[in-house]
Amino acid sequence: MTVIDTPVDRSIVHEVEQFIFNELLLLDEFKYHEWLDLFAEDGLFWLPANLDDYDPAKHTSIIYNDKAQLALRIKRLEMGRVVQEIRSRLAHQVSNLLILEDDGDEITVRVVLTVFEVQRLRKSMYPGHCIYKLRRTDDGLKIVLKKQCLIDNDTYYQHLAFMV
């Protein structure tokens, strides 16, 4: 991975930061439809399994969802399915923001992201890093790719049935 070697405009960092803080706040507050609106029509949410990088056509993923599949996921969550009958409470904490690339149309960003989850009396945390590809549109930034690589993606989970 290479980090952009020209100085990054503070205002871009600020814009990207605010966008991601807001995106994660929507998850913490279960505002899934507003969250989904942040995705571009061709947007993708990818939670790799076992490894951080591979060809998703050849290797399974924990989540590999386009926007339509994310909408289905949200529908299930809103139905209060068995595993989320008692809803998980979440806190997404983000830091170490690096702008990896900015070609004018799309900005690629890497952050360290930890999700804290509490369901009933069970407390869990899911640390890792996240790559965002964000597209500049007339409607503001849109997520083309959110790829969240959990450092425990090759371990046994109880479940990740909330919106990680």
Binding site: I62, M79, V82, V83, H159, L160, A161
Partner: protein
């Protein structure tokens, strides 16, 4: 653990398996008793055929994979002679595991504790600093990694048995084997590849929760209601509904089946009538010998048309081979391996992975709901001292099943597979002629 049913004076000697299994119910200590768990390891997992991996996972000489037979760590490795050896992952010197990775390629395994090196067929090369073993009676031939005495494979699925003698793998699989054929015959080349990663999840609870649940046709319309409704496949609810033509079967030897093919056939037939469907039938018929056989395979959609339980701990559901790993009496780890069809297009195989992920895995739309139910059963099993609460009921459709060609069939929602599972469990745990039988 005490058994509170009057007339069962078993506290002094601990529960006997035959005290715990009735034709239509089981005692809760089957899930909770640590001594029984130890006995299960010995009498089931260290006796019968246990799936350890697939040939495609160790395709080339030097390839290896680590797995478990019950609690015992094992390595399966393909040697230069192209044989697959299954051996204990335990240094014969002081007991450390010699292989740490899940998969890899190496001709040797070296114990990092004192440097002992083993070939990938298990033979000890030489103990390190070997001169101090001279004149001690040490013979390196005695110090190879112990091998599973029996290893055999069926359609690429490798099974090992730690018991030197017993029925052959194909006899053990029995009526389950034709369903494995149906699953893998869907591949244009007739073989599958298990190299697409896996999903892992664990739960507090006994391993048998998951084995039973994989062929439980009574639960989907409740536990997985949200999945069916959100996805808009209301028809799926008919498959496991009261009027379903689907069947649940006990295949013998503890294997079980949920056969929803009767309900899929109508959809499937439409698909086969399309030009692409016809081409699929023709190309498959070439390999399988007849159009009827090809249609049967395509209509069952691999394991899309059925859920298969291979006793004691393997499930073949959808596009996956699932391995249930007992860790402790109330601790279970599960690995789900989606597999790809050899000779299918990249698009087809990618589609298989994506549809697999929709339901399965830690973030899948269905699997986690089962795990949540296991958690609730785990909690409820603590109840005791009230009439009946020591027993779990498996009486649905009891005495209403029919036997065809050695398979006992009931309605898809009947607990036929579970009763078949526990009848074999009892047979293994308390063989005829042993104490108490």
């Amino acid at each position: 653990m005490s058994i509170s049913e009057p007339g069962l004076a078993v506290q002094a000697r601990g529960p006997l398996p035959s005290d715990l299994v009735r034709p239509e119910r089981i005692h809760r200590s089957i899930y909770l008793d640590e001594d029984l768990f130890k006995a299960e390891m010995e009498k089931i997992f260290y006796t019968t055929w246990i799936y350890v991996g697939h040939e495609s996972e160790v395709a080339k000489p030097g390839d290896y994979k680590t797995a478990h037979i019950g609690l015992q760590p094992v390595i399966l490795a393909r040697h230069e002679d192209n044989e697959i050896y299954v051996m204990l992952n335990r240094c014969t010197h002081r007991g450390a595991t010699v292989c740490q990775e899940a998969t890899g390629n190496s001709s040797y395994f070296r114990c990092e504790y004192h440097g002992w090196m083993f070939k990938n067929d298990g033979q000890l090369v030489n103990p390190t600093f070997s001169e101090r073993y001279e004149d001690t009676g040490f013979d390196k031939a005695d110090y190879g990694l112990p091998r599973a005495p029996r290893v055999d494979s069926y359609r690429g699925m490798i099974f090992a048995s730690l018991k030197p003698e017993g029925e052959s793998l194909v006899d053990f699989l029995g009526n389950a084997a034709p369903f494995i054929d149906l699953a893998f015959d869907l591949a244009p080349e007739g073989t599958v590849s298990v190299n697409s990663g896996n999903h892992k999840y664990s739960y507090d609870g006994n391993w048998k929760f998951q084995s039973e649940n994989g062929v439980d046709g009574y639960h989907p319309n409740f536990t997985h209601k949200a999945f069916f409704e959100a996805t808009g496949i209301a028809a799926a609810m008919n498959i496991f509904g009261p009027k379903s033509e689907g069947r649940a079967g006990a295949l013998g030897n503890g294997h079980g089946i949920l056969d929803s093919r009767p309900m899929m056939r109508e959809f499937g037939k439409l698909a086969l009538m399309s030009p692409q469907g016809q081409r699929n039938v023709e190309s498959l018929a070439e390999r399988l010998g007849s159009k009827e056989k090809a249609e049967e395979v395509l209509l069952s959609g691999g394991t899309g048309g059925f859920n298969l339980l291979i006793y004691p701990n393997i499930l073949m559901i959808g596009n996956q081979i699932r391995v249930v790993n007992p860790r402790k009496v109330l601790e279970t780890d599960v690995d789900i391996y989606p597999y790809l069809l050899d000779g299918a297009t990249d698009e087809q195989n990618e589609g298989r992975l994506r549809s697999h992920e929709e339901f399965y895995g830690a973030a899948g739309g269905g699997g986690p709901d089962d795990v949540e139910m296991f958690r609730r059963v785990f909690s409820g099993l603590n109840c005791e001292g009230f009439p009946g609460v020591d027993w779990l009921d498996l009486s649905r459709g009891f005495n209403r099943s029919v036997v065809e060609d050695g398979v006992e069939w009931g309605h898809v929602t009947d607990e036929v597979p579970q009763r078949g599972f526990y009848s074999k469990w009892l047979e293994d745990m308390e063989p005829a002629g042993s104490e108490g039988s």
